[in-house]
């Protein structure tokens, strides 16, 4: 399979008054063509920063790239100038944001917001632009598009606004769509509609999707591969089947364990992961999950484990999975 995007050892930090926050610390992954990759993890683990740094939407300063490469179709886009990035944003890579209520400009007509990027790049005439806006609203199943393009965002419901956001993102037929928690702000029935719409559009346009979420239900429904992120690092990666069937990292297991189940005994309380993620002003030198992990060992505190491959597509970063772990595990649990 052909790689569309490859992120190599990406590290992004924020310079703040209190010091440097290491939000993303050496992240490597790739996205194949026509594939959906889910990036999961709890709040503040660096998912959104990773996504925004691919689009170069982070405010710089305070944000800066510490190291790494972001290869899009083989070209390192970190090295591109702002002008060159403007050619990529929207037309090659586009993004859908979390909150459709605030992600649309309240004082601009919907139609104009949809085609704005395209008009600039392709020099469309006003009538062509209007036709394109109507087509896009049809594509995302917004009824009465001829009327709707002349309306403002406040005249749309949350679900409809997210459809408009998808229309904006897809208008130039991008190769990669980054969806940053696209359904978090929507109610459950609308969530399912939006996810179906995204799948439909992916099939139609052969778009790759990076799906950022902390909803494991959405992950199971949508994605081909799953990347588990914690404290700015990747903990485990595998196909959807591997991650859900055979999670190898204690963090992944705990994440899956905190999903409420319909068949659960009502008297049982919901599971959660005790403690909080580490402070990224001074990230731990060992495994960042060390102090919340039930199976932590002495070595976990001191050294960050390397990737341990279980299959060609499935790896985890945990000392428990190290070939030598079985022989030392007895008696060394902290």
């Amino acid at each position: 399979m052909e790689k569309l995007l490859e992120v190599k050892d990406l590290a992004v930090s924020f310079q703040t008054f209190f010091g440097e926050v290491e939000a993303v610390r050496g992240v490597s992954f790739h996205v194949n063509k026509k594939e959906t990759v889910a990036l999961v993890g709890e709040s503040g683990c660096g998912k959104s920063v990773t996504a925004s740094s691919i689009m170069q939407l982070l405010p710089m300063p305070p944000a800066f790239y510490k190291s790494g490469q972001i290869l899009f179709e083989g070209e390192d886009i970190i090295k591109k100038s702002e002008k060159e990035m403007q050619q990529i944003r929207g037309s090659q890579i586009s993004m859908i944001f979390q909150d459709p209520m605030t992600s649309l400009n309240p004082t601009m007509k919907i139609g104009k917001q949809i085609v704005e990027g395209l008009v600039k790049n392709k020099k469309l005439s006003p009538s062509e632009a209007e036709k394109k806006a109507i087509d896009m609203l049809n594509l995302v199943s917004v009824p009465q598009p001829e009327k709707r393009i002349k309306q403002y965002p406040h005249e749309f419901s949350g679900g409809m606004r997210q459809r408009v956001m998808i229309a904006i993102a897809m208008v130039s037929n991008p190769k990669l769509l980054i969806a940053d928690e696209p359904t978090t702000a929507l109610d459950v029935t609308v969530q399912a509609q939006i996810l179906d719409l995204m799948k439909e559009i992916q099939n139609q346009f052969d778009t790759s999707i990076i799906l950022i979420t902390h909803d494991l239900g959405v992950v199971a429904d949508m994605s081909d591969r799953v990347i588990v992120m914690y404290a700015g690092q990747l903990m485990e990666e595998g196909t959807v089947y591997e991650i859900f069937k055979n999670p190898k990292h204690p963090y992944t297991r705990k994440l899956l364990g905190s999903v409420p189940r319909l068949d659960m005994d009502r008297s049982e309380s919901l599971h959660s992961i005790e403690g909080t993620p580490p402070d990224l002003y001074a990230p731990p030198k060992g495994c960042p999950f060390f102090d919340r992990c039930d199976e932590a060992m002495v070595i976990c505190k001191e050294y960050m484990p390397e990737r341990e491959y279980h299959t060609d597509t499935h790896y985890s970063c945990c000392w428990l999975n190290h070939p030598m772990a079985k022989s030392v595990a007895e008696g060394s649990v902290v």
């Binding site: 944001f97 990027g117 406040h154």
Partner: protein, 310 residues
């Protein structure tokens, strides 16, 4: 919308009536009257005649009703101090001067104020931000009479073609309109900076950037229009203040405007002139506030004017 405007205009008449009544009461509760002069006492008979001529010998209630009747006809009455001009004529003479100066000051404030604020926000905590905030702090804190005399001292006396005062040609308006513009300019810059900072942090700005449009398009099409509302909301009072003129500026630069009448009428206890100018100012203020409310709807489609009011 037209229904709304009509309703607002009807309400304005009630507002005007309240203003007239309060002014009338306040004016007459100040001791003395237009002809009581402390220095040279006029003969009692003359004094009584004067009171009779202007109707001041009648009871207050009658004076009040008379006045309301005249105002309803658009007649502000005769000035009690000037023998040659009616109040209407005085306003007709002074207002165009003050208004042209005010419009020019408004233009200066509107061009530079929001721009300065926007630049400050875009370069937050950098050099341009500091410069524009220094300018606006000076604008807010330096009183206009200091600004006026400062401009005369350091500009008019150095540059030959700029006069230190007077009225007639365009160059006469230059310094006073700058001095007049400083305060609103500074206010607008500060408002624009804070509202721009808020808008820049909004999600829809990130959406706009993610479309791949240029930085300037993001600023002009997406940020400014959303950030300008607070400025529009102070525009009503700012415009009416500028149009009616400033006593201080007009005094310093020797400009025959309306602002001068405003103050002199009060210490002369020129009843008709006080009333005339107050009512005139109130009318302009009410119209400007209405204009601002209508302007809101043009800028922000979420705001709708209904008959129930905003």
């Amino acid at each position: 919308m037209s229904k709304y405007v009509i309703k607002r205009l009807a309400m304005a008449i009630v507002t005007l009536w309240v203003i007239i009544t309060i002014t009338f009461i306040l004016m007459h509760s100040v001791p003395g009257d237009p002809f009581a002069n402390e220095n040279k006492r006029i003969p009692e008979a003359v004094y009584q005649n004067l009171l009779k001529k202007y109707g001041l010998d009648k009871p207050y209630s009658q004076q009040y009703l008379m006045y309301l009747k005249n105002i309803a006809r658009g007649d502000f009455g005769e000035s009690m101090k000037s023998n040659t001009e009616t109040v209407n004529e005085m306003i007709a003479r002074g207002f165009p001067v003050s208004a042209s100066l005010g419009l020019q000051a408004l233009l200066i404030a509107l061009i530079f104020g929001p721009a300065l604020g926007a630049i400050a926000a875009l370069y937050q905590n950098k050099f341009p931000d500091y410069i524009s905030m220094i300018i606006s702090i000076i604008g807010v804190s330096v009183p206009s009479f200091v600004m006026g005399t400062f401009l005369i001292q350091f500009v008019a006396r150095k540059v030959n073609w700029i006069p230190i005062g007077g009225w007639g040609e365009w160059r006469h308006t230059l310094l006073p309109s700058i001095a007049l513009a400083m305060m609103p300019l500074a206010q607008m810059a500060r408002l624009m900076r804070s509202s721009m900072l808020e808008v820049i942090g909004q999600d829809y700005i990130k959406t706009a950037k993610s479309k791949g449009i240029s930085k300037s398009a993001v600023i002009l099409k997406h940020s400014v229009r959303n950030a300008i509302l607070p400025i529009v909301s102070i525009l009503g009072t700012t415009i009416s203040n500028l149009l009616v003129g400033s006593f201080v500026i007009e005094k310093i630069f020797g400009i025959p405007g309306l602002g001068m009448f405003f103050t002199t009428s009060i210490y002369n206890r020129d009843y008709t002139l006080i009333m005339g100018i107050t009512v005139f100012y109130a009318i302009i203020l009410i119209l400007m506030l209405l204009f601002v409310d209508v302007a809101y709807t043009l800028i922000d489609p979420r705001i709708r004017l209904t008959e129930e009011g905003r």
